[in-house]
């Protein structure tokens, strides 16, 4: 700095330019950074902690269940009669609940997969941007409807409608619940599949069109297969959601655990059973109380398996485009 510098350029009282020595606030700033970092860290760790805590409770209570005199691991996994409350003899065979769960989830997927994939292809490959701008958010509104509303919908609208087709439908039945769950998971399948379809590079579409493919050829024979891993993982994620869905099945599917493939029947799902237990006046710390945890653990393992397989498929079969 020379005296010839114009005063406007450097006020005389300002510190020397070019120094890296910090202002007095530097220390405070560093501590603030550290504080923020540890706050963020603990927020992230909190969710991990919660997950571990849930797992621990599930595991502990499940082992309490199997420690009871009335139950055995062999009966739980080896039989299909679930009758924890009534009768002289209680039965704890998980498979009737698993069957009911898969029956409802199966119906849900049969409804949601074709409809969801066709919608996704339409939105991604056919729809005008303005149409998509309206359709996609309105589809996502479906995801915001409380599931209890879907349950009522199944009970008071779908079931009566089904009864007009066949007298065989009970007031509670697997089909009505399955259809409602299907509508519930429709946005999941549509939205995730559409993302997967749109991630397919435009160059592949150009290549197909350039060979004389129609829009249909391009969408179904090039874009869809290229997005298949993402679509599969979307379906598995939706399946996990369907298996875990509670309110709809508690309201509309009934509470009679049985092994059946007849969708007109009243059934009970794993989640439905847990609601029944948690709301009913079962004695705390009885065998039926602990059975709730065993069922929850089973449900957890099943949905976890679907999620893991889904993400494995997505990673394993993802096509890498540069």
């Amino acid at each position: 700095m020379t005296p010839s510098n114009p005063p406007a350029d450097s006020a005389p009282e300002s510190p020397a330019r070019g120094t890296l020595r910090g202002a007095p606030s530097r220390h405070a700033r560093r501590w603030k950074e550290r504080g923020i970092l540890s706050l963020l860290n603990s927020a992230a760790l909190f969710s991990v902690f919660i997950t571990l805590a849930i797992l621990w409770v599930l595991g502990a209570e499940t082992s309490n269940f199997f420690a009871q005199d009335e139950v055995s691991v062999g009966e739980f996994f080896g039989t299909a009669q679930w009758n924890p409350l009534l009768g002289a003899e209680k039965h704890f065979g998980i498979w009737s609940l698993v069957c009911g769960t898969f029956l409802v989830a199966g119906v849900a997927l049969l409804v949601a997969v074709p409809l969801g994939l066709v919608t996704a292809i339409y939105l991604s490959e056919y729809a005008h941007p303005r149409v998509r701008a309206i359709l996609k958010p309105s589809l996502e509104v479906l995801a915001g409807i409380p599931t209890v509303v879907y349950g009522f919908f199944a009970l008071t609208l779908i079931t009566p409608a089904l009864k007009t087709f066949s007298e065989g439908f009970g007031s509670f039945n697997a089909l009505a619940a399955g259809i409602a769950v299907g509508i519930l998971i429709l946005p999941i399948i549509t939205s995730l599949s559409e993302d997967a379809l749109r991630a397919v590079p435009q160059s592949l579409r150009d290549g197909a069109f350039g060979l004389g493919a129609t829009r249909f050829d391009t969408s179904f024979k090039v874009v869809f297969p290229a997005a298949l891993s993402g679509i599969t993982s979307a379906v598995l994620l939706a399946a996990a959601r369907a298996i875990g869905e509670t309110m709809i099945v508690a309201l509309a599917a009934g509470s009679t655990p049985k092994v059946t493939m007849d969708v007109r029947d009243e059934i009970q799902t794993m989640t439905g059973f847990m609601v029944q237990m948690a709301l009913g006046d079962v004695s705390n710390y009885g065998v039926e109380y602990y059975s709730m945890y065993a069922v929850a653990a089973m449900l957890f393992v099943l949905t976890l398996a679907f999620t893991l397989v889904g993400s494995w498929i997505r990673k394993r079969y993802r096509e890498v485009y540069d």
Binding site: H128, L204, R205, G212, T214, V222
Partner: protein
């Protein structure tokens, strides 16, 4: 069937005027403008072509004839409209929203923008290879079989023969004959691009449009593509867009220079590179802009 682009499977909606397909689209010889007359039997004749992206005019009054069985290069600075022009030749621009075409593009004397033209048939006859190799994420064999299968059923033996012929045609057979059923994405960039050329050949096109086919490739792979273009010359009418003037000089018989959406000049390549007619062309070729 081979010579008309008009869909024959579906009759036209208005049955009032069942004029023969050729009669309806053939353009009166008197209407034809001069550039076409340079070549006795041009593959494409483009007449007063204007092209718009929304309100943006990308091409202005382009008149050009593309000689049959020869290689025509399109050069010019970025954004000059050369790629847009290429994509009007097989109507790939139809896929871009809010575009508009005015003027005529005649393929063998038929206006490809006539409303009765079957775009699928047009694109089969006018194959295209893109800037970046874009093989489908399926096997090498299936990539080539894709186009023919769109046209209809082909027997296994015929398809095997066709795949081999196309791979030979694209100078790729020796490199991939032992792994025809492995994923095309496992090939190198240059191999992928030659596969894309083989895939286009499988449709038995008359014209091949190449949109900067070597710009994403290394020099060695580029040389192979250029050799291949030389081999295909004669059997196919080839139109290649390139930003590489040396490439244009090496591979093409004719060169068109585009600038600001206009075709400044289109002359035999040797002439353009030695005696350009326009000052703009000379400035571009000598690197004064571009």
């Amino acid at each position: 069937m081979e010579t008309t682009l008009v869909q024959e499977s579906k009759p036209p909606k208005e049955k009032a005027k069942p004029v023969s397909a050729l009669g309806m689209i053939a353009v009166d010889a008197a209407e034809r403008r001069t550039p076409a007359d340079e070549f006795a039997d041009p593959s494409f004749e483009v007449q007063q072509l204007d092209f718009f992206y929304g309100d943006n005019q990308a091409l202005t009054q382009v008149d050009m004839a593309i000689p049959r069985g020869e290689v025509t290069a399109l050069i010019g600075p970025s954004g000059c409209g050369k790629s847009t022009f290429l994509r009007t030749l097989n109507r790939m621009n139809d896929l871009v929203a809010e575009t508009r075409v005015e003027g005529k593009v005649l393929l063998d004397g038929q206006d490809i923008y006539h409303r009765q033209v079957d775009v699928v048939e047009l694109r089969r006859r006018v194959g295209m290879v893109f800037q970046r190799p874009n093989p489908f994420p399926i096997s090498i064999y299936e990539n080539i079989a894709y186009g023919p299968r769109l046209q209809g059923k082909v027997s296994k033996a015929d398809m095997d023969a066709l795949v081999e012929r196309c791979l030979h045609g694209a100078a790729l057979w020796d490199e991939v004959k032992d792994r025809l059923h492995t994923s095309a994405l496992g090939l190198s960039g240059g191999q992928q691009q030659r596969l894309c050329i083989a895939r286009a050949l499988a449709n038995e096109p008359e014209v091949l449009l190449l949109d900067e086919p070597a710009s994403a490739l290394d020099p060695k792979a580029t040389a192979r593509i250029e050799d291949l273009i030389g081999q295909l010359r004669g059997d196919y009418t080839i139109v290649i867009v390139t930003h590489n003037m040396q490439q244009a000089a090496r591979v093409s018989d004719h060169t068109g220079f585009f600038y600001k959406g206009r075709l400044v000049e289109c002359t035999p390549t040797a002439q353009m590179f030695t005696r350009p007619e326009h000052q703009e062309t000379e400035d571009y070729l000598t690197g004064r802009f571009g």
